[in-house]
């Protein structure tokens, strides 16, 4: 099997893993913020991950492996199944808000780390974040908030250091409540 095909399998698995973990983060955030919008995103991602999963399985099955390699490839298929299970668990949690169950104080306290909060803001043209990578933007240093997820149009992105922020992106961030104001200023490009 060629190098290129391997790389495709790895990329697909990384995307599955990232998407399932993003769904978990968003599901917990939907409960903290009591946000049906985030909860709906989780449900949409659930459909998206089904597609990703099918593509991944087809990719693995078309590797042309021999009988002696079949165990190794079975391992890959099973890893894919696990990402799907995690995605299902996240979707179930998202249902809490969508079914109008108001998050019980116990739940919010448990899901929310002691003094942490979750917030979101849209990147404006004039924000200094526009065009920077997550690493360059140093948002955590500036505000004490870190980016959980980025929404770009219809797409959700799990941020990596090399992910570039663009105007129009919606950043979902978590951190100490004191940083929320600084974070919103930074993202919106408002002065003072």
């Amino acid at each position: 099997m060629d190098e290129k095909h391997f790389q495709k399998i790895v990329d697909a698995l990384v995307e599955l893993k990232d998407t399932s973990e993003l769904m978990l983060d968003l599901a917990y955030s939907s409960i903290i913020l009591n946000s049906p919008e985030l909860a709906r995103e989780v449900q949409e991602l659930e459909e998206h991950i089904d597609d990703l999963h099918t593509k991944f399985e087809l990719l693995v099955l078309s590797s042309g492996f021999g009988p002696e390699e079949s165990r190794d490839f079975l391992g890959l298929i099973r890893l894919g199944v696990v990402t799907e299970e995690i995605a299902d668990a996240a979707a179930k949690m998202g249902e809490i808000v969508l079914r109008g169950l108001k998050p019980h104080p116990i739940l919010r306290l448990a899901v929310e780390e002691a003094e942490e909060t979750v917030t979101s803001a849209k990147v404006s043209e004039k924000s200094i974040l526009n065009g920077k990578t997550i690493k360059e933007a140093r948002i955590a240093d500036e505000t004490g908030m870190w980016i959980l997820a980025i929404k770009r149009g219809k797409k959700w992105i799990r941020p990596k250091p090399t992910t570039r922020i663009k105007a129009g992106d919606i950043l979902i961030a978590s951190g100490y409540a004191e940083g929320e104001d600084d974070f919103k200023k930074l993202v919106s490009g408002r002065q003072s």
Partner: protein, 202 residues
């Protein structure tokens, strides 16, 4: 064959149980992927042990939730708690599925594993030996993140797990450290835990 622990009701606050289930299940995902990608049987066994822990916590939580609900209103309020607890349980089962793969020799194709190592952060698992300079020190004193670039994500002490240890938490001889970081930092932590290296400077 698994040995089944008898389950006994303990009055533990639902919040405490839920926080523990959530933290453990998230740790388990990290440990499980790492065990598969780096073909590490020890991490896989940790995952299976944690899975039993989460199962017990789930049952305790169910009992405490039942007792907490006095009427229909309470029951509805507590439904969300119960759903999050089942989700955490499901996640821990998924992590355990990965651990089984590792322990039953259903591996990940070595070439894929190599490729994965380039994109994923590595976890390290080390036993703190008697001679280690880490032993007896708090995380605050050690400042491992700024010195060698690793983050201790869990400490296992016998059957107890300290998840996301804080600065005041001390490392003791015999502890098992689970750490995340760059490969060079992870290697260095291994030498420090082993007692091979005794230098930890800024």
């Amino acid at each position: 064959m698994d040995e089944w622990e008898e389950i006994e009701y303990k009055p533990i606050p639902v919040r405490t149980l839920l926080v523990e289930m959530k933290d453990l299940s998230e740790l388990m995902i990290d440990l499980a992927y790492s065990s598969a990608l780096f073909n590490n049987a020890e991490l896989a066994r940790d995952v299976l042990e944690l899975e039993r822990k989460v199962d017990n916590l789930a049952l305790l939580l169910k009992m405490n939730v039942m007792i907490a609900a006095r009427d229909a209103e309470d029951a509805k309020d507590l439904l969300g708690v119960s759903l999050v607890s089942s989700a955490a349980d499901k996640i821990s089962d998924a992590a355990a599925d990965i651990a089984y793969l590792v322990l039953h020799g259903i591996g990940i194709h070595p070439a894929v594993r190599e490729a994965f190592k380039r994109v994923e952060e590595q976890l390290g698992r080390f036993v703190v030996k008697r001679d280690s300079i880490l032993s007896g020190k708090s995380l605050k004193e050690l400042r491992l993140a700024s010195r060698i670039g690793v983050d201790i994500i869990a400490i296992r002490r016998g059957n107890d797990w300290i998840i996301d240890p804080k600065g005041g938490d001390k490392i003791l001889e015999g502890d098992i450290l689970i750490a995340r970081g760059a490969p060079s930092g992870i290697e260095e932590l291994g030498r420090l835990a082993e007692g091979i290296s005794r230098r930890l400077e800024d």
